[in-house]
Structure formats: C-alpha cells, structure tokens
C-alpha cells in the first residue's frame, strides 16, 4: 500500500555569524535564505513556493551597517531600505535613497534588505537600476571562498542570478559620485506600487559622464549606454551651459530604444517604453542646471 504523503518538518537556522550561515548553507545547499522575508513570505503564503529548510540572516552583525571607505560606500547586505532612506546615506547616494523610499510601505522598508532585493532579482526591483547605474559590485561569500561580481553580471535573467549553492551576498559596494542624482518610478498608484518603469540618472562629474540605469523594461539590469555616450559628449562640463533641447530629446529617444519591455497585466510594452522616454527627459532636465562644478 502506498504510504501517505508526509508533511516533513523543516529546520530553521537562525545564524548569528556569517560563518554559521555559510556552514548551514553548505550543509543544506537547497536551503531558502531568509533576510527581510518581504518577497519570500509572499511566495510562501501564496503557495507558490513550498518552504524547505531555512537559513535566517537577520541576526548576523557582519551583514548589518554601512561604511564609507575612501570614495566607496560599502553597504552590508542586511541594510534595510528604511536605513537607506537615512539622510546620511541619502547624502552619499541620493538616487539609492530615493529608490528606497519607493519600496513598499514603512513596514516593508523596515524589514526589506538591499541584499534581498538584489538576490530576488526581479526586473522590477527598485534598487536595481540605481545599482546598475552605479556599477555596484557585490561581495559574495561561501564557506570556502569569497568573490566579487558586478550587479549587472550577478543578475542573469528574470529572478535568476549567478549565486552558487552555499553562497550568499555579504555586501554591496558603490562609488560615491560627484554630481546630482535622480531616481524616478512610474506606477499606477502614488505609493506602495510595483514599478511599471523606472529610471536612475546619475551625474559623474569627475568622469564627465551621465549614467543611466533602467528598471522594469528588461529582464536584467539595463544601462542605457548609447544614450549615456550621446548625452555625456554633448554636455558643457566646464561652464554648465545647458544643451540644446534637441540633445535632451535625442537622449530620451535613445533611452527609450534601449529598453526591451514586455506587455503584462501591470502595463503594456508601449507604455513602458514611452514612460522611460519621459522619465529620461525629465530627470536630465532636473540635473542639468546642477551639472557644472559648484
């Protein structure tokens, strides 16, 4: 006779050090990694992810906190979006703080972590376009080794990453740039909404470059490189004379054409492409009078 299906118990490891967490992940490589739980628990509650063994990361001191090292900001993977909204961090990476403010509700921002947002690798992840524009580097760690991977290589597809079994994100490093930054996100509600299209535009005065990252318009993190080249070359970096309107328009066009959006129940491809064009235009206009060295 067929045995009844068993509801087998699961183990939950509440790690209190990186070493513990890595050891637990090595022992049970299929374990679910739980940080803020704001994505994971939604899937579990919906029944679309059956819960197995869990390694909880939220009590690991090494993952908490942030440090300024030279002109680089190192954010522990456990830093929450509420913490990123803090004026101290906002002064260093304004666009990341603006993006953090668009994440969910205050309750979600108190729990959700930057590491979790990256590991979830949703095309609509709010921090992703900013991290892409910043050329963020992820520090990955396992029991045996550690390695560094740029965020644009880390995310390999929709909700797919190059994270190996037993590996976790320890920290994110981003440069502190000289110049204004903008993050804009479109959704059909004025707060607490999944991004339909988003855009991060950062001014890098020392490199004389405009950096643009796009969200929700491609399966993986997207830089609008052509648009960046075009506009960076047309800006008057020395005197700050605003470019011709046409340059702004061409820039926006190039941003829109770099997108490869899809139709879904949240928005049409045409609307998403249209939206990033408008966001490109507006965010460039916002930063333009702040481009020249003060």
């Amino acid at each position: 006779m067929l045995n009844g299906r068993q509801h087998v118990g699961v183990s939950v490891t509440i790690a209190t050090s990186l070493e513990d967490a890595c050891a637990a992940l090595t022992a049970e490589p299929g374990s679910l990694v739980l940080a803020g739980g704001t994505d994971l628990m939604v899937e579990v509650n919906r029944g679309s992810r059956r819960i197995g063994n869990v390694v909880a990361l939220n009590r690991i001191p090494e993952l908490a906190g942030w440090h300024l090292i030279g002109d680089e900001l190192r954010l522990g993977a456990g830093v929450t979006f509420a913490e990123i909204c803090d004026p101290e961090i906002a002064a260093l990476v304004p666009a990341l703080a603006q993006a953090a403010r668009t994440v969910g509700s205050p309750q979600i921002r108190n729990a959700a972590t930057i590491g979790g947002n990256i590991a979830t690798a949703s095309p609509a992840g709010d921090s992703i376009p900013v991290l892409a524009a910043l050329d963020a580097v992820l520090e990955l760690r396992s029991a045996e080794a550690s390695r560094e991977v740029p965020v644009t290589e880390f995310i390999t597809g929709v909700k797919a990453t190059c994270l190996m079994p037993g590996e976790l994100i320890e920290a994110v490093r981003v440069p502190v740039l000289d110049g204004p930054q903008e993050f804009c996100k479109v959704g059909p509600r004025n707060a607490m909404v999944i991004s339909v299209a988003s855009l991060a535009l950062l001014v890098d005065r020392s490199a004389r470059r405009i950096r643009v990252g796009l969200g929700s318009v491609a399966p993986t993190p997207l830089r609008a490189t052509q648009a960046e080249d075009h506009v960076s070359g047309h800006l008057d970096w020395d005197n700050g004379v605003p470019p011709r309107l046409e340059v702004v328009r061409e820039f926006a066009e190039l941003v829109a054409s770099s997108a490869s959006p899809i139709d879904d129940h949240r928005g049409s491809a045409a609307y998403r492409r249209h939206a990033v064009r408008i966001l490109a235009q507006r965010s460039l206009t916002r930063v333009l009078n702040r481009v020249s060295p003060s």
């Binding site: 045995n3 509801h7 939604v42």
Partner: protein, 758 residues
Amino acid sequence: MTDLAISKRTAAPRIGEDTPRPDGVPKVAGTFAFSSDLHHDRMLWGGTLRSPHPSARIRSVDISAAVAVTGVHAVLTHEDVPGSLVYGLEHRDQPVLAPDVVRYEGEPVAIVAADSPEAVRMAVDAIAVDYEPLDPLVDPDLAERADPIHPDGNLVRRINLIHGDQDVRGEVQVEGTYEVGMQDQAFLGPESGMAVPAEDGGIDLYVATQWLHSDRDQVADCLGLDPALVRLTLSGVGGAFGAREDLSLHVHLCMLALHTRRPVKMVYSREESFHGHVHRHPARMWFRHHADRDGSIVRVESRLVLDGGAYASSSGAVIANAACFAAGPYRVPSAHIDGAVVRTNNPPCGAMRGFGAVQTCFAHEAQMDRLADALGMDPVELRLHNALAPGDELLTGQTITGTAPVAEVIRTCADHPSGASMAVDPMELPGGAGRTADPEHVVRGEAFAVGFKNILFSEGFDDFSEASCHLADGVATITSACAEVGQGFVTLAQQITREVLGVDDVVLLPASTVGIGSAGSTSASRQTWMSGGAIQEACGQVRVQLLERLAVKHGVDADDLVVADGRVVSMAGGLEIDLVEATAEPIEASVVFRHAPTLPLDENGQGDAHVSFAFSAHRAIVDVDVELGLVKVVELTTSQDVGRVLNPLQTVGQLEGGAAQGVGLAVMEEVLVQGGRIRNASFTDYLVPTALDMPPVEIAALIEEAEPGAPFGAKGIGEPPSISSTAAVAAAIRNATGLDLPRVPVRPTDIVFPEGAA
C-alpha cells in the same frame, strides 16, 4: 453612588454626540480578534480545492491520494452535501461544491480538513480532478445569444423600464457609451470562521458575515438540518462592503465539522479571497439624453448590460437599482431604460456599496456634463435646474413623499470654497513617491457630480428587524442580530438606548441567531433605520412599562413622569426615583420593526418600489500628469443628505471611507479578468488608494432634514459617498485633459494613448 452616576452620564454619549468606536483602538493596536483569530484546542484546519478553469466539465474526482495524506481527517465532494446541493441569496443556483461542471475560475470542487494548514495544502494538491475544459462565455454582450451555461439560462434579469410619453424628443440630444470595470470590496479580513459540532447533532458556526439569519437558513438547507440546530454567531468582521452578503465557506466548514466531529477552522488566503466572494458588476452602458434649450431634461434612453458572472447572487436587485436610478437625481418625465444582467463564466458579481447606482452615476453624470456643454450651460446650474424635489416622480412613477434636499446638497457642495493649493514637492504631485512629475508637467481639473440611491430593501421585500430590550438594575441589555461590519451599529445601539431610556449602562449582546429573530442584512444603508428603529421601539416600550409601573406605585399620572439622566422625575415635582432602584424588577420588550411596505416593479419597471432615498454630491479637484497618465486627486468636497447626524464622528468616517472607495474605482481599482481568469488576485496588483492617493475630504454640509418614519429622522449614510465620488473624480480628469474617458478606472494608457494605441 449618586456621584458615580453623574460622572458616568457625562461620559456616555447619546444621539448626536461623538461616540468613539469600542473596536477602534484595538483594531489599530492589533488586539482586535477577527474571525481569522478564532482558536479551539481540538480544531482542525479546513481548505478548498478550486477550479482552475472558468468553464469545464468534471469527468471525475479522485480523492484517494488526498485521503492518504498524513493528518487528513476528511475530503468531501458534492456527493457529501447532506441537504440542498445549491444555495444563493435570491435564487438558489450556486452549488455548494461543483458536481459535474464548473462555471468560474475558483469555483469550489472539494473540501479538506486536516491537522495543519500544510497538511490541508498537500491534500488539496493531491485531489485528482479530470476536467474537460470548455470555451468560457466571457463577453456579457453575447450572453443572451449564447448557449446557456446554467440550467436557469444566461439572462438573470431584465428591467425594461418605460416611463411617460415615449414620443417625446428633445431639441438637444447627447449620447454616450460608458464602461465600468470590476471593482472588489477589498476588505482586509479574508473570509474565515470556525464550525463547532454540537452534542445535539447541530452545529455552531462562528463567522464574519453581514446577515446571520439568511446565512443560517441557507446553511441549514444545505446541511438538511432544522434551522434551530444551526446557530450562527458573528465573529470579528474585517470589512464587508457587500462581499459578505453571500455564503462563502459557511456550508463547507459545517460539513467538515459534522463529518469529523471536530471544530474546523478555515481562513481564505488573499488570492483565494478574490475568488471567494462576489465583486461589483462590470457595466456597459449607453445613454441618450434629450433636453429643451432651457436645460430641462425631457427624456432619457439607456441600455445597460451588467456582467453577473456565473451565479445570480443579488444581481436581480442590482440591475433593478441600476435601472431605477439610471438617470440620476433629476426630474425626467420620459424614459426608456433597458437593463439586463447576464450570466457569464466570469467571476460572480453581487453586492457592493452603492449597489448598481455607482455604475449608472458614472454614466449619467458624464451625460450631464455633456449636456451642459451642448447647451452652453454651467454644469452645476444644469443640475440645479433639473434637481429632484419632494413631490417629484422618479423613473418608476413613484412620487417622492419623504425628504429630497437635492438642490441644497448641490448648492452647498458647489459653493464651498476650495482649500486646494498647488503642490511643489514631487511627492504631492501625480506619481507621488515615484517623484515623476514637476509642477510644470501637471494640469489641474475640477468637476462636480451628484448621485442617489434607495435605502432599505425595495420591491415588496418583507424587510424587518427584530430587537429586544431588557432593563434591570439600571442597566439596559439590547439583543439584536444586526451584524456590525464597521458601520458603527454598536455605538448607535447604545446611543439610541441611552437617549430613549435615560440610562448610562447599555450592554449590547453578541449578534447571533439564538434568542432573537433576524435583523436583516447589514447592507442597503439600512441598519441605522431598521435595527436602530427596532431598538428605539423596544426601548420605548420598556419606558412606557416603567412609567406605568411607577405611576401606579406612587399614585401619579404616567404622563407626568419623565426619564432623564438616570432618574424618573415627576414634572409636577415631588417625585424623583433612581433608575437602578426603579428597575430592581426587570422590564422587557421585544419588537419586530418594519418599514413602510413597498410594491414590486411592474412589467414596465413602474411602481412604488422604494421607501426612501439618500443624495450626495462631490466636487473633485485633480492634478494630472498628461504625459505619463498619472493622477493625483487633490481635494474632494462633499455634501450629503443624512436626515439627521446620530454620531458625528462615525458620519465623517463613512463619508471619508466611501469616498476612498470611489476614488479607488475612479483611478485604480479593477479586478482584471482575461478569458475568465483573474490576473491580479493580490493586494500587490489589485491596488487600493494609499494615504498619498486619498485627498482630504472636505464636508461642505450635512443636510439634516428629518426623514419621516426613520428613527430620529436619520437616513442611512454608508453608500452615497461611494456613488458620486467616482463620477466626480473621473469628470475632473476629463476636465483636466479634455479627453472623453468613458471608462473607469481611468488607466494611465487611457490618458497617454487615448486613441487606444496600446
């Protein structure tokens, strides 16, 4: 003793005084026990297997693997339904568990009870159903011509309303086609409850609902039990708005509990909840208005098609409302309204706040703006010119005998000064936290809308509420089965009792089907009038008995005695008796309260079908980012016909909450259904307004004209705020953009690509 009584008097609010809800702080603090918090030490968990198809034949159901899952105590199908196989509010046409066919995605097919939610989930997954998927009927316009998807046919009800001289034509005519998407009530507390089998072979069901006795009768039918053996007690309700008027898990829970002889608890997940209750009917509406050059409406023609989904629910009453109030609160001497509600394989639709009047208000108010435009008249002036007043006839031929302060509602709202300034912070502009707009990207629009509907049940329904009052030792105990679903009845019941009996201490017993008859449904804005009226009358009878007893005892005239502030006092002086003392021997009264009878509609939709009407107006100011199609509602101003304000605090709450649902329908709330399947069954994707979407609600005026027959002259106030608000917001977006926008919710693409490019 005396001092204590005095100090309590000042703390116990009566009619017309702010009365905070006893459940307010606990709900905010997270300590309120909702029906999903029910617990029993011996309880099992229940779950439901639902159809993945909007339309399919069931070839077979194999439960053997599910029964074998460890910890499973019961797996039941339609074969295990002990009594009536079908249930329903108006027509019993909905299977308890689908037998041979499923008619909508999410229709229950089998139920499970097990030791843990996880075991329930495994067992539900293990049930093997062999479906033969069929082409679903999803277009309501095709329903009447299509093969019947149900033995009762695809037309649930048609109202062919013909009023006045049909040959009348207006010099000015405006025509339009409008559409309303499917709104969800979006209550926060999902369907949940617990059934406990009783020694006597009966069942005790604890559940969040709107109408205990109607539930009881349907449950008893399906269980094949005497209704006296089915006892329902109201559990903590986390919102209702119409979505709890139909049965959901009630019969399932009882079947599982009776089968296992164990208490069984069930809580729907959020996704399941979207499939587990009825929604607001999507509507397709065509209108032609005829008017004279001076702006007098002479005729309205309309065709309405409401999508009822797979089962009837309250669709018949919804289409009656949609048709009866199709032209709005205006004098219309001639009308032809052809309204149909049809059956499809879309999610079932039924009751939701506003009940048919929301859909037509959106259309008739758009028509009024069009008409004003065609006449070159101010839109508010046009509305005032045609405003209904007492003595006027409705489309049904019924003369308004009660209050109808339509002109006052319009005038006070339109004249109220606006406090809206222009925002600078992107957070306050369209796009909100997304920081997408700067002030130069924004256009402002303003518009006005008026709406109305019936309150209380209509069309000859025997509408009543039973209540009893027991007064002993100065404490009044009230029994009523009225379901408190957030509307504020618990405060009103106490306020009314204090007002009539002059007592401070009022105990309102838990609402249940035991020991008291039906209070009717908490819907149709009816409980303040009906159960409020029942309590007023019961307390009144107790008061009469009390005074007669004291009159005899003290040899005075009963007419000379008054009850006030915890005492019975003789007006002539000389007699003052403490109520506690006077009621050492208890006094009791029970009443069944009925409103004035109504009549059915005749074959032309004519008849005195309604009791009373409530009117409201909204003025909306919106900012629109036309390039991105994003909207920020900046201000809502409202006036409402309320009869009398009984609890000012709760009145404000109702006006704000109703407007929030109206704003939601105007700009974001829609159950997206494609091919019969819901695509956004979650609060991630079914969006309701947040604090950044909901503007302040300015109350310009609460028009207090006492309504004859209503307790204290008070009309129900719950529904009107959600009727005219949607129409006003949509019109304001039209005003800002110059677009037609014939559909709500208005989506970003409706503004960005008005030609329908994408």
